[in-house]
Subunit: 121 residues, 2 copies
Amino acid sequence: MSRTIEDRLARVTFDDRGLVAAIVQQWDTREVLMMAWMDAEALRRTLTEGRVTFWSRSRGDYWRKGDTSGNVQYVRGAKLDCDGDAVLISVDQIGPACHTGTHTCFDADDLEPVAGRDAAP
Amino acid sequence: MSRTIEDRLARVTFDDRGLVAAIVQQWDTREVLMMAWMDAEALRRTLTEGRVTFWSRSRGDYWRKGDTSGNVQYVRGAKLDCDGDAVLISVDQIGPACHTGTHTCFDADDLEPVAGRDAAP
């Protein structure tokens, strides 16, 4: 693999908005904490600064996680998926990941699926 | 929470393409296996059939994971995130999750970030 930051960014398939989906996972417990979006500059900062930066579609600005809330995400690892349109960021999350105060952004709304074969009831 | 399938689907914020990001996680090891896309019908099938169905943007068709490859994903759980634009599907994955044959879709491309504070070297 090429190791310069430009070569790494060039492997990402940004969508027609210039964004890639970023899945954030706690490095040790492997909980999925949240999903947000990065443009090339947000990903560049995330890969080089040791802190996770997103692109806020609603505010149209960069958003370094924890700068306002204190709930910092320290980078531990980052992987690109097979078709280049999702990155999996491994972090050490300080405090709750969700702006609602819950530990993860997936804690509040259970979609209650029917379970498949062999699943516990 | 409302429990009818229509009420559950109505809580999802589909994007301007009618899609929601679906993160798929192995239920016991908590590995993130892949990310793909669902429209309302794919999510409806996923929540009601016990098997994971995506919408393929490249093929413009539904894609029930494992129908061709045998690498089925049996549904264990499904959560919606705080702003409704990502679902976290917990599954029991049969065989490799990635069409390239790797265990997950995030196994092949390390973006080699600089680690943040307190991270192991």
